[in-house]
């Protein structure tokens, strides 16, 4: 059957959960295609459509092993994402994808994985985290170092509490709060504090650009080699398939050749992200 790449498939929202309130609100949505659908890989994204408003590129945060829904965690940012935040259970949206490359998790079998994320940056990591957890016997130690500005800004609160019984979880917030018992400081500082061993380990870091930069620096400092560090790049996107010419860094179209890069690959590319 011929598929028109620009024509979204319709999907129904089956759950909406508010992760973070306030002006920088984050909500998690689960969707089911009305018919058909697609299978994705860890780290891939999809273009979500709100008809009349436009499209936004969003990481698929559910694991490919979960078949009955796709999950997206979305920060309210502007026109389209605000409209997504207004959706209710039963609302219809358009989805096209999946786009981009993926984390090479098959080749990481037998290795430890360190996840380092900040704010909404947990979304692209989440599908890898869920997948490796479900296949725990294939991987070594799993560790999460995650931080947010304040404790209410932490996403996936219940899931994180639950995770603590399954893997090492280190949380942090930027400035001290009376009730806070864990680390206070930036994610990069927490990495330096916890000093996870680079031995047979892959580190994935996602979050705002400045956080990615400082985390990569911290990871290098404690001995991670460039090809042991992975991250995702976000550039403004429209087509998602390497045609509209918008998202490039050097010869790479992030939508097609990215968004997942090892630091070894990324540092070869011009600084245009």
């Amino acid at each position: 059957m011929r598929t028109n790449v620009y024509l979204p498939k319709l999907a129904k929202v089956i759950s909406v959960k508010e992760e973070v309130g306030g002006v920088r609100s984050i909500k998690t949505f689960r969707t089911q295609f009305l018919d058909g659908g697609f299978t994705h890989k860890c780290g891939q994204c999809a273009m979500l459509s709100i008809f009349g408003k436009g499209e936004s590129m969003i990481s698929i945060s559910s694991s490919p092993l979960v078949k009955d829904y796709l999950q997206f965690s979305i920060l309210k940012m502007g026109r389209v994402t605000s409209a997504i935040h207004d959706l209710e259970v039963g609302s219809i949206i358009g989805i096209r994808g999946p786009y981009g490359n993926a984390f090479p998790i098959e080749s990481w079998k037998g290795k430890n994985i360190l996840f380092a994320g900040g704010g909404i940056g947990l979304a692209p990591i989440w599908s890898v985290l869920q997948t490796t957890l479900l296949r725990k016997k294939d991987y070594g130690d799993l560790t999460l170092i995650y931080g947010a500005r304040t404790s209410p800004d932490i996403v996936f609160k219940e899931e994180l509490a639950d995770l603590k019984s399954k893997m090492k979880v280190h949380l942090s917030i930027d400035v001290a709060e009376p009730e806070w018992k864990e680390f206070v400081g930036f994610v990069a500082q927490n990495i330096l504090d916890k000093k996870p061993s680079p031995e047979n380990t892959i580190a994935i870091t996602c979050g705002p650009p400045i956080m990615i930069k400082t985390c990569i620096k911290a990871l290098s400092e404690i001995g991670f080699k460039d090809d042991q560090i992975y991250t995702t790049v976000e550039n403004k996107m429209k087509c998602g398939i390497g045609k509209c010419g918008r998202c490039n860094i050097g010869r790479h179209y992030v939508c097609k050749d990215g968004p997942v890069y090892s630091w070894a690959e990324l540092r070869q590319l011009p600084q245009e992200y």
Binding site: V23, R24, S25, K76, M77, G78, R79, T81, S82, A83
Partner: protein, 343 residues
Amino acid sequence: MVKHEDVRAEAKKLLESGKVKYIIAYELGADGWKANPVFIKKPEDVDKIIWGPTCFHNLIRFVVDEKRRKVQQKNPDTRPVGVMVKGCDSRAIVILLQEKFIERKDVHIIGVSCEKTGVIDERKLANKLKGRKAKNVEFGPDENFVVTTEEGTVDLPASEIMADRCLECIAHVPVITDVLFGEKTKRTVPHPFGSVEKIETLSSEDRWKFWSEQLEKCVRCYACRSVCPMCYCDECVADTITFAVSPDTTAEEKAQKIKWLDKSPVISENIFYHMVRAIHLAGRCIDCGECERACPVNIPLRMLNKKLEKEAKLLFGYDVGFDSEKPALISCFRDEDPEDFIR
């Protein structure tokens, strides 16, 4: 006649003394006969500077750039920039001063008089030459230009190849300068609003037809806006997102931003864009004609602005861009204003 050497000597003096940061001037382009803007930073480069009938550009556009750059810099060099101006360009400075976008000390104005002519219109010249390629164009001794092609040299009267804006120019000698080259010639302009006279005689249906056909052609490259020294807004309704976005702008604010016009180059959107631009230039357009020159599909944009200039003149006796001390047309009113709402 203005001599290159004199302008160059002045530029050299300014740069050597460190009085200006750099000088915005004209140089000869790669095609060997047309001028291009150039930024002279070192005294040894002043010999690049030229003056001639292809110095179309209104270099004040780059004074606007300089101001934008300065706002971004932590410790900006506060010396003025030197800038070469024709009469029309000098009126753009008056507007920027009037609107307090720049201060007088930001610019060192090197004026050149257009004397008996002005700049040529490339399309008129091309039509005149019928396929022959121009190699050089110079000011003639009278109201004429001397054009050289591979077939030799011809004398062409200004009335045939001069830009319309120059034919209707009311300020061929710069109105504000620090130094002036060339003679303060006298000139009569029989039809200062000549380019709108014809269309004014048409019925409104015919005018609508005319503009619909013209604006249908627009590809919305925004060269007309980009080349204009008066279109200096940071935020423009024509852009998809506003540049005033900061990390503190909330999602709500961005989501509610009104989308004034679609990116599609269709007649409704094109007309809207051009009407907004024309209205925002009322009493501000100094008729340098750059929008019309830059337009790749040759839309007679000057006509829109000229009409509004005429309205300002007839209704309010307002001459655009002559006196920086006077309030701007759209920011003042008079007690004797015929409209009630403003009083």
